[in-house]
């Protein structure tokens, strides 16, 4: 029995030399989702602390691959492109950075950071992909946002934000650049809406 096993192993090793595995087609590129601004200061700083909850995302967007779509209702990952970190997590950080810089609230902190908050911002990544059906294509970002008052767990306002930006080239680089601009639009709108909603004007 032992002798037969050794024989099979040797035969396999000899045959493996005849087989050639395919090499990667091109190197994997990591793209960084950025928010170039501009940063517009809020008209007035609201008293209280805003806690930003990490953005919910469906399983498709929890991977680090950018997503594209060639036909309606389908989504596919770019194979040789990666985000530097999952897009929902990155978008959460970008939103928090923008709100802090705009001084819309006294304090802006992540949920679970040990800070007691007066308001809480919940966001959900609904869609974030490169529509490549018509080259060079368009980047689309849809985010749903809710503002909650934590003292009485009351929903103050809810809104859907949509950002669109045309891609410059029909490839991953053009797609990720356009997706960054779409994210910039959504963050602009969100930073403008949030203080109004908290002040009771955006309902």
């Amino acid at each position: 029995m032992t002798r037969r096993a050794i024989l099979y192993l040797l035969a396999g090793l000899i045959m493996s030399g005849c087989v050639r595995l395919p090499s990667p087609g091109q190197p994997v590129t990591y793209h960084v989702l950025t928010d170039p601004g501009p940063i517009v200061p809020a008209p007035r700083t609201l008293a209280g602390t805003l806690l930003v909850r990490e953005m919910d995302a469906p399983g498709l967007y929890q991977a680090s691959n950018p997503v594209f779509s060639r036909s309606p209702g389908t989504r596919t990952y770019y194979q040789f492109a990666r985000w530097s970190e999952p897009p929902a997590k990155r978008l959460t950080w970008l939103i928090r950075q923008r709100l802090e810089a705009a001084r819309a609230f006294e304090v802006v902190s992540p949920l679970g950071g040990g800070v007691r908050g007066d308001y809480q911002l919940n966001t959900r990544l609904v869609d974030f992909y490169h529509d490549a059906s018509m080259p060079p294509g368009v980047a689309l970002l849809i985010v749903e946002a809710e503002l909650v008052r934590r003292s009485d767990a009351r929903l103050i306002a809810r809104r859907m934000f949509v950002g669109q930006a045309p891609a410059a080239t029909h490839d991953a680089q053009g797609a990720t650049d356009a997706m960054g601009r779409a994210a910039n639009q959504v963050i602009d709108d969100l930073a403008l809406w949030l203080p109004q909603a908290a002040a009771g004007e955006g309902r």
């Binding site: 990490e54 929890q62 991953a172 053009g174």
Partner: protein
């Protein structure tokens, strides 16, 4: 010639005599004394007009200023006589003037006396409807006032006599007699009760002395009680002061406990809030990790794709297979 001259003298004399006769008649008729007059009307209802006749004088303050020109007993108003007066125009007949009948007690002749009441200084000129001359109001004669006073006096005296009679009626006299009898009996009983009253007074005096002695004893008792009460009060004051101190200490302790409880409640609320945040964040991370594991599992389920890479159809825009 001589007879013609005599005729002239006779004629002239006759003419002169006739003129003198006419003048005398005019003087006798009183027309020379007549001055311009004004007519007034008086309706007399309350006074007797006995002795009044046409031509009777009309006087003001005792001076004759006119005469009675006419009078009429009104058939439709029994007891009312309409008298027309002619008064010298220079006489001040003013609004509110009154006319009364004044009668000479000896001759019985009557005259009309006019009296201005002084209420107005406006001459009486107004002529009422249905009249031809101004109407002077009828006044009350002084004699009438005296008669009314005498009549009132008699009426009051009569009333007083009637009341005196009722007071001195037989029934009241019997009641008065009964009262006097009772007073008599009472005085007799009092007289009989004098010894008893004296005994009562003596007993009262003794009782008063006893009461005085008791009062002195009571005073001493009260004095002792006061001293004891003062001691009790001192003790109670000390006890109250101690109780007050204890209460203050208790209040301070309660305040401190309340502060500490408030602090504990705040800490608990904060801890619960932070714990809830941690739980929520951890749950979210677990959920996402689970979904990521599922996605990875789906990718590992196809070893061919792991060994040979993605299919050509799975390549993104701009991506190429080797």
């Amino acid at each position: 010639m001589e007879s013609e001259a005599r005729y002239v003298w006779v004629g002239a004399t006759v003419v002169v005599l006739l003129l003198i006769l006419a003048g005398g008649l005019y003087w006798l008729s009183g027309a020379a004394d007549r001055l311009p007059t004004k007519r007034f009307v008086v309706y007399f209802q309350k006074q007797s007009l006995e002795g009044l006749q046409i031509g009777s004088p009309v006087r003001m303050q005792g001076i004759r200023v006119g005469r009675v020109a006419d009078y009429t007993i009104l058939p439709d108003q029994p007891g009312t006589v309409r008298v027309v007066l002619e008064v010298d125009r220079r006489t001040p007949v003013l609004e509110g003037i009154q006319a009364v009948i004044a009668r000479n007690l000896l001759t019985g002749l009557a005259a009309v006396d006019l009296t201005n009441t002084g209420q107005s200084r406006v001459p009486l000129m107004r002529v009422p409807a249905g009249e031809t001359d101004p109407v002077i109001e009828e006044g009350v004669a002084d004699l009438s006032r005296v008669a009314e006073l005498v009549e009132d006096l008699g009426r009051t005296g009569h009333e007083s006599l009637k009341r005196l009679n009722s007071v001195l009626s037989d029934e009241n006299q019997r009641a008065l007699a009964g009262t006097l009898h009772n007073l008599n009996a009472l005085s007799g009983a009092l007289h009989a009760s004098v010894p008893e009253l004296n005994a009562t007074l003596a007993a009262s005096r003794q009782a008063a002395q006893t009461l005085q002695a008791s009062g002195e004893s009571f005073t001493s008792v009260v004095r002792d009680s006061g001293e004891r009460l003062a001691r009790v009060t001192d003790a109670a004051t000390r006890t109250l002061a101690e109780a007050d101190t204890t209460l203050q200490a208790t209040r301070a302790s309660l305040t401190r406990m309340e502060r500490e409880l408030t602090g504990i409640a705040v800490s608990l609320r904060l801890t619960a809030d932070l714990a809830a945040q941690e739980v929520e964040a951890t749950g979210q991370s677990l959920r996402q990790a689970s979904e990521a594991l599922q996605a990875a599992g789906r990718g590992l389920a196809d070893p061919v794709r792991i060994l040979y890479g993605p299919l050509r159809e799975e390549l993104g825009p701009g991506e190429v297979r080797p």
